[in-house]
Amino acid sequence: MSTIGYSSWAVDLKDVGAIYPFQGWETPMVIAAVAFWVIWHIWQIRYESEDLRATGVDADLKKGNEAIDRY
């Protein structure tokens, strides 16, 4: 058993194609990867919203002016 389909290199390389593990699972892997990407955006927008809300609460007039002066 070999996850890449070859358990020895006693082959002619002109006859060898894909050598990555779990061949045949490309579509599920792509679905999982796309899900990761979409989840990342959803999480990021929620996190950024929280962060900006916190800034709105914390940055009162005094602190806001101090931030301007720091440039």
């Binding site: 070999s2 070859y6 990021q44 996190y47």
Partner: protein, 482 residues
């Protein structure tokens, strides 16, 4: 050098490695920029010079004995081999500093070569090796300096430079190159008997460096002020976060050269002289097993991206950790990036660094370990776990093109990871650090640590400025309007 094809191939390979060496130098530019950015202003120059001087020290010692170790130790320790295999290359002919092949050489054999025992052809011949020895030596050397440099960041602001440089020489020119001979060569005993697979050095560079750094940190202790009276850790923020990220960007860039240097760019099956049949040339990994530059380009970028995306999430957008875990993403997938599918590389690069990140804070809280740059996590835990993961994902794949080698398997890679992190990384450096501590040369005095390690240099610098300004003011006053 023989026929035109052999000549072209040899000169191409020579140039290929030379380019990788130049690219890899950026890793050290990055390390210096990054560490200096993390250190506080009163320690800048000390931090910079501590890392910088590892470069010449590891270079000359790697010339004296590091390169020799790589050829002498594939079956054990040269004088004591724990597997019965013959050593394929005579290290004294190829890599001893007095060998004619360790200097300018034009492939023939004259009286000097004959006296040294060299022939024109064969395994220990001069015909092609004269062109490759210097660039191979340099490529391995840049890995050596990287391994030493990884430790440097963890121990900033309190280690004595002299102690660090002794540790750097030991790790850069002895311990890492021993693990390379064992587990990162076509004939290493770990590859043959364990099926150890670590194509882009998750274990052989990163795990050993992380294990070594952890050992130094335990003996060295935390920076003053790192822990509160109740034992909880304080953050010591980087003095220049922007510079830190530029340093890490430069390390990413140099890492491309590191990856390319781990490959043999082109080789014929007949030259490999293993089980591969036919006449199709290929690129190979360090074990002479087939891969391609395209494979590692896909996987480098996907694992980097996985690490950065996951790093951004787990650190809530912290720049230092997002960049660091991007690097960790590459390191996590490196053991198997010659064979992984890009999406597998991405997920390995995303998941493993998150575990390392959690481990960093758990170890910091639990054992009071002050790792200033997270090197043990980014390199050590990640490298260790990356090797273990490769054992599962590549289970049953051939580790080598030669007959009689164990296939890649989880147990072989787990044992290999333990050898890298603990046997060759942690324990030898723990002993070395204890010796340095016993000699009283490991840590700077408390007052110097608080005043800053640039204190004397800064005082001289300010005095020189004051003197020049005074002289210029005096000159201006004497000009009297002229």
């Amino acid at each position: 050098m023989g026929d035109q094809l052999t000549t072209n191939t040899t000169v191409f390979i020579e140039f290929y490695y030379w380019v990788t060496v130049v690219m890899m130098f950026l890793i050290h530019v990055g390390f210096c920029v990054y560490e200096t950015g993390v250190s506080r202003r009163r320690n800048h120059m000390h931090t910079l010079m501590k890392n910088t001087m590892a470069i010449p020290l590891v270079t000359i010692t790697f010339y004296f004995f590091g390169w020799w170790i790589y050829f002498a130790f594939p079956s054990g320790f040269y004088w004591y081999n724990f597997v019965p295999d013959a050593i394929p290359y005579d290290p004294n002919l190829i890599a001893a500093p007095w060998s004619p092949l360790m200097g300018t050489h034009l492939s023939g054999v004259n009286a000097t070569d004959t006296a040294a025992g060299l022939t024109v052809d064969g395994v220990n011949g001069t015909a092609t090796w004269h062109r490759l020895n210097g660039v191979f030596w340099a490529a391995f050397l840049l890995f050596s300096i990287t391994t030493a440099s990884i430790i440097s960041g963890a121990v900033i602001e309190r280690i004595r430079s002299g102690a660090f440089w002794i540790i750097a020489v030991f790790v850069g020119s002895v311990s890492w190159i021993t693990d390379a001979a064992w587990g990162w060569s076509a004939t290493g005993w770990m590859v043959k008997y364990l099926g150890y697979h670590d194509a882009y050095a998750s274990g052989v560079v990163h795990a050993i460096a992380g294990g070594s750094a952890l050992a130094v940190l335990i003996v060295l202790g935390p920076r003053i002020g790192k822990f509160r009276a109740d034992g909880t850790p304080r953050e010591i923020p980087p003095q220049n976060p922007w510079l830190v990220t530029i340093g890490l960007f430069l390390i990413y860039t140099g890492f491309w050269g590191f990856y390319a240097a781990c490959n043999i760019p082109m080789i014929a099956p007949a030259t490999i002289a293993g089980q591969i049949t036919g006449e199709t040339w290929t690129a190979t990994n360090i074990y002479l097993a087939p891969t391609t530059l395209s494979a590692i380009t896909f996987n480098f970028l996907m694992s980097l991206s996985g690490g950065m995306l996951a790093g951004y999430m787990i650190s809530k957008g912290d720049a230092f950790w997002t960049y660091s875990l991007g690097l960790a993403g590459i390191i996590a997938a490196s053991a198997g990036n010659d064979l992984y599918h890009p999406i597998q590389a991405m997920f390995v690069g995303a998941i493993v660094p998150c575990i390392s990140y959690k481990l960093h804070y758990w170890v910091e809280r639990t054992f009071k370990i002050d790792d200033a740059v997270g090197a043990v996590a980014v390199h050590g835990y990640t490298g260790f776990l990356g090797v273990v993961v490769a054992g599962f994902l590549l289970w049953g794949a051939p580790s080598s093109p030669y007959e009689g080698f164990q296939v890649i398997n989880p147990w072989g890679n787990f044992i290999g990871a333990v050898i890298m992190f603990f046997v060759l990384g942690f324990f030898p450096v723990l002993i070395l650090s204890l010796i340095l501590k016993a000699l009283g040369i490991l840590r700077v005095p408390q007052r110097a640590e608080i005043a800053g390690l640039d204190f004397e240099g800064e005082a001289a610098y300010q005095a020189a400025i004051a003197e020049v300004k005074a002289a210029e003011h005096a000159t201006l006053a004497s000009t009297n309007g002229r």
